[in-house]
């Protein structure tokens, strides 16, 4: 795969047992109204959402995770997003055991209207930074909002629309 190509194929998404964002639909303005499915990440408590991903066509150039999101109500302020990888290595990674998720994070300013989306990139270098996730393997990509970080200033929920995983 070339740089910029999608190499992470999301086959499931599932919230963790606790501290998960509220799934809801955001009503659009058309007639009939759209029902945009989003995950609302709290403004005060760190919450997490898991994406189950298969890596295919990865050439070792590192990953760029793009998060597309909107503000539930705010039109100013910054949200701090994070992504971490738990590699599911064949006959090696025991999902019954605990894993320490190591987040790469990035700040993003909300769009000028709460119904508009903004995109932020979070990058990973090849190797340990992405838990040594290799081509052909599955992984859990955990997305978080670091709501209690000093840089996270936006009031109200941050709504996750989608996660895209590309070769850097």
């Amino acid at each position: 795969m070339a740089s910029g190509d999608i190499v992470g194929f999301i086959y499931k998404e599932s919230p963790p047992a606790t501290l998960f964002p509220q799934p809801y639909v955001r009503a659009g303005g058309s007639t009939p109204a759209e029902r945009v499915p989003v995950y609302g990440f709290d403004a005060s408590t760190d919450e997490f959402m898991d994406f189950y991903v298969h890596l295919q066509g990865y050439d070792g150039g590192g990953l760029t995770c793009t998060i597309e999101w909107s503000a539930a109500s705010a039109t100013t302020g910054v949200t701090r997003w994070g992504v971490a990888v738990r590699r599911i290595q064949d006959d090696a990674e025991d999902v019954d055991a605990a894993h320490t998720y190591d987040y790469n994070e990035a700040d993003d300013t909300t769009a000028s209207a709460s119904g508009e989306t903004s995109k932020v990139d979070i990058t990973f270098t090849n190797g340990a930074d992405m838990d040594s996730w290799a081509d052909g393997e599955s992984a859990i990509a955990r997305v978080t909002r670091n709501a209690d970080h000093a840089n996270d200033t936006m009031t109200g929920d941050a709504e996750l629309w989608k996660l895209i995983i590309k070769e850097t």
Partner: protein, 89 residues
């Protein structure tokens, strides 16, 4: 009347942002909202020992005034203010 503790104020700021009636305020960030909660709490504390509280209590019908606790009187005020301002009376 004492103000809320810092943790109570933080909880108030966080819980309010989770309320579906929260619509956000332009240019107001989390720190600004927390400062607003602090200021309102201070005002309520001051009002409880001053003229506004006396005036409010006197305005209540005697049956409610003599039977309701301070918390119930406060809740009654919340109901009325919410109805007035959130429905645009």
């Amino acid at each position: 009347m004492a103000t809320m503790t810092s943790q109570q104020r933080a909880d108030c700021a966080a819980e309010s942002m989770r309320d579906t009636r929260w619509s956000g305020v332009p240019n107001v960030l989390k720190a600004d909202w927390r400062a607003t909660v602090d200021a309102i709490d201070q005002w309520v504390s001051d009002a409880a020992t001053g003229i506004p509280a006396t005036s409010y209590n006197s305005a209540l019908p005697v049956t409610f005034r003599t039977n309701a606790s301070a918390a119930q009187k406060a809740l009654a005020l919340v109901f009325v203010v919410s109805k007035r301002y959130l429905t645009g009376v």
